[in-house]
Amino acid sequence: MSFNVVTSSFRVVRREREAGAEALRIGLIAGVAAVLFCLIGAYVALDKRDVVEGVASFAAVALAAIALVAGYTSAATANRQGRTPRRAVLLAGGAGLAVGACLALMVLATTNLGIRTILVAASPALVRALTFGTTAGSSGQIFLLLAAGFGLGAIGGALATLVPERLRRAIIRGVFVVIFAGLFRDVFFSIASNLPGGVDRMIYGSAGIRLWPAILLFAAVVAWTILRAAAGKPSAARTGGRSKLSIVLLVATVLVLPLITSDFVAQVAMLVALYMLMGMGLNIELGLAGLVDLGFVAFFAVGAYTVALLCSNGPLAIADVSFWVALPVAIVLAAVSGLVFGLPVLRVRGDYLAMATLGLGEIVRVLVLSDALAPVLGGSQGIIEIDRPVLAGISLNTPAELYYLALILAGAVAFISWRLQHARIGRAWLAIREDEDVAQALGIDPVASKLVAYSVGAAFAGAAGAVFAVLVGSVFPHSFQLLVSINVLAILVIGGLGSLPGVLVGAMVLIGLPELLREFGEFRYLFYGVALVAMMHIRPEGLWPAESTKREMADA
């Protein structure tokens, strides 16, 4: 949130210890992280996806990154404390060694103590994957792990101390580009398959990017970065131009993406658009008016069930009208339920509101699931056979067509949000967010303003629910779990509270990426959790901050 009113002069600052102790601390933290990474089953799951075909799996890259970052950070600390580069690299190696030692201990425990009854992921498969296929129980594999840890830590340290800044940036960027290109094989592969001459098969294997294209890509990125840095710093005008350019690029990608890629990617894009729609709804509540709403999914459910009841051929349908009739009804009903639910809870503030709305959302889910309402809503059987929308005689069936439907709605909603934000009601929301008491003393009715925010947000969520119902063709209670609300919240926080482009970026990062990395599926919420925490610590304003926040940064 943009306001950080100092409420207390009390502040805790951690004192940095001597470089050696810091390296040990960093190494142990990273080691614990690496062990947890393995023990939650992420290693084995992500080992199935290659970044560079046949050379490095996603899991191996992630584990190596942990050791590299540990080395890099310890070396940077040592550097700051004025240690010689050699000593810094040595300390970095030590930090890496600590990571390796933690993993080695885990391997020993897995093979010798029966910890699998407790920790389900401590399997022989994990040990095999970690020890490069060597036979279990040999002292060689322990040594191998320690050596790999030391080596990676030292490389990280060398990167931090020995390599000149410009080259270091270029290398890091190159590595990231290659990982990106490898991980999102599906997208790039389907784009490349539009090209003639089997280019796609030359670059990509069945699981990741091939080795030589990867090396070429890395070299190209490094060279380009260095050359461009050598050409001098870009002027202020050019950076302004570039941010415009990046918006244009983003919009263009969003528009054509489903056309040039596969149905799978279009399906993912469709989900991203859906979450954008919801994100914009929550953005009114949370981003503008500062209302933490964790029961947001209830309105999504209202929209979806309304369309389901009005457009289904099934036995529960109460009407069989066109989607275009049902959509406004769904939006209005969602807005009305926002008003009804909002009134009791909107008199409380902050954390209280989060919990109260959470309770509301759960009530709706339990009710929908119950036998008591099953004759109307279908209980756990849900409602099936929902008609697809028909536009000018054409039924919108493919993911790409529905994607454009969602995108158009998202565009409309973004426009409405933007207009509201710059009018009397939008200013009232911001004022309430900044200081509710003062806003009220200026004649703003806080409950009324919050109710408007709440029901506008609910209406947008209702629209998303309506699209969701026709996208899936059926609705089930399990689609409306609390997790949906958390997803939307995370999108806003990661993208930047109160920022419309932030919603787009957040939805792409949090919905698009995990969907594209199917192996990632079960770790997605863990990733969300880590991302939320990391974001609050590192970049609280979000990936694409709102104007006012940016202005603030510029002013400061």
């Binding site: 943009s2 306001f3 009113v5 426009f415 409405i416 207009r419 509201l420 710059h422 009018a423 009397r424 009601i425 939008g426 200013r427 009232a428 911001l430 004022a431 900044e434 200081d435 008491d437 003062v438 806003a439 009220q440 003393a441 200026l442 004649g443 703003i444 009715d445 806080p446 408007v452 006012s548 926040t549 202005r551 603030e552 002013d555 400061a556």
Partner: protein, 294 residues
């Protein structure tokens, strides 16, 4: 002795603000007891008293920040006590705060536009379609806001975030935000606190103009005796939650009980105390309190 620019308003006119028997208890502690306060329309009325005497509590009751335990408050003859704060604001009561409370993440202009909230009426859906009526109203509101910023002398900060303004400018912006909607009554809570003499003089000038040009009645809490004596038509002295004295500045300066309780016994004449710097006056007040309590 500083002169008052207008003669004291005649008591025959119907009062703008009429507080009767106002009490506020927090738990077992009475913050204010049985306070009466009558403010004539078009006047500048000062409320003075030692720290902790309950002055801000009176303001909080009038603006409905807290609900009084008993007593009535009338504005233009109409009861406003116990109403929600925003309803009180719509009746025409605006205020500033002892510790400036702007919207720190909004610009000067945006702060003032929020202040104009209650004067705008075009519904939100018109904003979505940017109807001519909406655009007219919005343009007029911006013009008015800029004019008020100009009036308060902070027009050059229209685009600056409130948190980056200098302290004196924050005070002025807060006053601009309070008066933009054209209230009947403006409550200023220690507007000159923390200001140097030059800034204080500028503030006196601003308050005079608020009364003269905008026609707003002002009630202010102030410790700077120089400011109080310069602009107040009438003064109410509050001590330990109750009204100690009420009258014109001349009467207050001559009042024995005020001299004893508030201005302190170490001074020869109240006029001298008035000429002292505010910090001295504050210190004097404290010694005075001790003397009375001892």
């Amino acid at each position: 002795m500083p002169e008052t620019s207008l003669p004291p308003p005649s008591s025959a006119a119907a009062p703008l603000l009429e507080v009767r028997g106002l009490s506020k208890r927090f738990g077992g502690v009475a913050a204010i007891r049985d306070v009466d306060l009558t403010v004539a329309p078009g006047s500048v009325h000062a409320v003075i008293g030692p720290n902790g005497a309950g002055k801000t509590s009176v303001f909080n009751c009038i603006s409905s920040f807290v609900q009084p335990t008993s007593g009535t408050i009338r504005l233009d003859g109409e009861r406003i006590d116990g109403l929600p704060a925003h309803v009180v604001a719509r009746h025409g009561v605006a205020r500033t705060y002892q510790n400036v409370r702007l919207f720190p993440g909004m610009t000067g202009l945006e702060n003032v536009l929020v202040g104009a909230h209650r004067t705008l009426s075009v519904p939100g859906w018109q904003a979505v379609f940017a109807t001519p009526r909406f655009r007219r109203e919005e343009a007029a509101a911006r013009e008015k806001a800029m004019a008020i910023l100009e009036f308060a002398g902070v027009a050059h900060h229209a685009g600056t975030l409130a948190r980056h303004l200098a302290y004196g400018d924050q005070r002025r912006l807060e006053i601009a935000r309070a008066v933009v909607a054209g209230p009947k009554l403006l409550l200023l809570d220690e507007p000159a606190a923390g200001m140097n003499p030059a800034e204080g003089a500028g503030l006196v000038e601003l308050i005079r103009r608020i009364r003269a040009e905008l026609g707003i009645t002002v009630v202010l809490i102030e410790h700077h005796m120089r400011v109080v004596m310069a602009i107040a038509d009438r003064i109410t002295v509050i001590d330990r939650g109750a009204v100690l004295a009420e009258g014109t500045p001349a009467e207050i300066q001559a009042d024995d009980s005020v001299i004893a309780a508030y201005l302190g016994t170490r001074r020869d004449t109240p006029a001298e105390a008035a000429a002292e710097d505010a910090s001295d006056a504050g210190a004097g007040a404290k010694t005075g309190m001790k003397a009375v309590r001892a």
